[in-house]
Amino acid sequence: MSSLQEGDLDLRGTRAPSRLQAARGTEESAQGAEKPFQEVMDVSTGDPHRAGMKPVSFVRQVLAACVYPKLLDEKSLPLDARQRANTLLGVCSGRSVGSYCATAYGIPYVCKSVTEFIMRRDGGVSSNPEDIVISSGSTKTLLIVLHLMASGEGETRTGVLTPMPCPHTLPTLLNMAGLTLVPYQLLEDQGWAVELDELHRALRTTRGHCSPRAIYISNPGNPTGHVQDRKSIEEVIRFAATEGLVLLADEVYQDSVYGQGTESLSYKRVLFEMGKEYSKKVELVSFHSLSSACMGECGLRGAYMEAVNLDPVVMKYLRDAQAPSSPPVLPQLALEVMVNPPTPEDPSYKTYSQEILHSMTTLSQNAQRACEFLNDLSGIKCQPARGGVFLFPRLHLPPQMVEEAKMLGVEADVLYCQRLLEEEGVRLGAGCENGQVDPNFHIRLCVLAPSDTLDEILARLHSFHLRLLESFP
């Protein structure tokens, strides 16, 4: 056994044990251990299909025909889906999704479609296919950039300003890449807004501690649901410009802004509308993926980044980072359909737009309903969300429960979630996974689910929560 102890076993970043249990544990729950519920309802991650949301038909039709080209002649599939599949097969080696992708950075045709989408989205701001890198999932895409930045030890170790709370997978990734997480608190009482003073404060803590090189921000916020207005985005951009930080903008939920009167703005667009002083200088990498709200195709594993104003040498590194391997082909085709959906003249447009509308309506209504419901529960306070797929309510837990958690060696929100899972079969995410180290506890739930599923979850949560409060007089 000793040969393995030689290795680099510095894998800290133990996030909630419930994640460790989650994977292997499904088998146990499937094996019908005595439980008071039929099946586990899991809304701890942004995984809409798991919760019962349906995929976009057009996407699946195109992919099916790409995978099994005999379907190109299948009349039951819409003509435009079949035509798209035919076009996409034309950009695959040997007209097969089973061939290696020809480049390490993504199929050029797909990169081009991505840039066309970006230009449409950003009111004409130009986008270059050479600035696009595709990978299998946003984790990989982000890691490519993080690895690039990582350097130094101790005081010179690269630091990344990271929002608290942040996406629950981020702290482990930063640790794995050898980067120091420099937390900046989002303002919970203001709907998890970004505050400039807090960014400055966070930056000051890095002196003599690490070397800050980047600021990570997710907009719409994961898990907060906050959507930045133009002023806020400009503040962050100015801050990054002044302090010489690379902006890492996680915009995976850009398609899910539902708040009344809330505008969806990309970092790129705002940057370019701030004029040359910023648009030619600020280094920005923005991320998007198939795990977006409307697509929900988390299991397909496809993502891209657009890099702006990076040094050409750095850009080349990013494009070669996956060489000599290459990203899987099918998710790239799904990305192409995501960024280039049916237009009003297309036969599939009607169904497509109805499905998108249904997703957005469900999301928006669920978020509102769930937020009100949670705020009605004693000991829970939930900020309203305006975008994204999560709610991140705060828990005021009885002191005895906090003590009990301490004695068991877990965070109190982890204990809350464990108990909820055991008693009601509902799996939520513990807020500590999102990096919060303040004395408040939070839970994370994905509200993009069929309405009745959400209602069931809320009912079970209600029941559990009240029982919990009663048990601590």
Binding site: S3, R50, G94, S96, L300
Partner: protein
Amino acid sequence: MKKLDYTVLTRRANQIKEELRQELRKPYKQVIDLYWGDPHAAGVKPLSFVRQVLAACLYPDLVNSNTLPVDVRQRAQRLLGECAGGSVGSYTATAGIPEIVHRISEFITKRDGGAPSDPENIYISPGSQWALRNILKVLVNSQASPRTGVLTPGPCYPLTNFTIKGLGGVTVPYYLSEEQGWELHVGELHRALDSAKGLCNPVALYVINPGNPAGYVQSRKTMQEVIRFASEKRLFLLADEVYQECVHGEKSEFLSYKRVLSEMGPPLSDTVELASFHSASKGFMGECGLRGGYVELVNLDPDVMKCIYKLFSTDTCAPVLSQIALDLMTDPPQPGDPSYPLYSEETQHIKTMMVHNVKRVFEVLNSLPGFSCKPVEGGGFAFPRLHLPPKAIQKAKEMEMEPDLFYCMTLLEEAGVLVKPGMENGPKEGTHHIRFCIITPDDTMEEMLSRLSSFHTQFMKDFS
């Protein structure tokens, strides 16, 4: 980042392909590309059953229509039932959908004559190299001094060497004996290990069986010697077995390292640490673009298994379609199933094609002065040796290229054939080879051999 020379070649090939598309004149109509181990790009058709199931999983409406055979629809239905929310778009458990992982372990047990396989020790990953990289991350300590070493074969699959170096490790080559059909001699393992003294701290031994690029299939005897060596020297055994479906030699049989280890009995079977890798990219499926692979871990410490779990979990899970592809590979149609006749016909066709190709390669190349080719017993490639005339080597030097790269560039320009220069694979110093994929339709192989013969004869004449 080290710049890999071969990209010069592939870039030129892409340029030429583009020029041909624009109908610029060339002495050939299209480039025959056998550079990668990519059967579909080389013209092999995917297996119908595989693609039908994948299509139905992607678009479940097909499950209820009569477009597809009933067993396809049943399989898709079962698989969708194993996906959260009935969709291939949901995340899965880190190691893979438990039912699929379970079936893979059953496949392994059956393949290995009953040697038990524990699903808890199996991880599905996006491509076998991703799994290999994670295991290497645990083995290679980037901070260590002296640096961590991994014994790798010469010739080898270059990506593995690249990964080891990228993680801060050192590759320690042990050379396979080309004269004896690429035999692995234990004496050479000892020599390699000794050569590492003072230079690095070797912790692992990486073997490829069936070979890549050299087309050998190891005998049980060799494998036992390797296992004993690994045990004696306390080396972690990394067995890259992705070409296990590609066995062409009549007398060759693929045995997995797991099986051989298990049949050697305790104490070896309980103590030698082994990771074996398989993939949906090679063999009959050839689904390189889907990125489906798995690793089975044997005799690892529970604490190390926890670390490995964490590593794998940082990337959430392998793509669901890749997992499904693996399921189809390890649990194909059986006699009696409606899809069986077609499946059997298609796989038999590919098998026959490979056997035919390696026979022709052997015949043709060995008849050409300046080439010598060992029989290709297994794997996806031929790796014939070039005996280049001194004038050619001189010309290559003048052009600042390795001789085999020079040969390949010239072959590409003049004959429109794209093969890989052997230098990337790290064979013995001073030897030159080319590598090309043999999983390709027979007529493509014939055309390639014909062009190669003409070119080679002329080349040898020009540089005599």
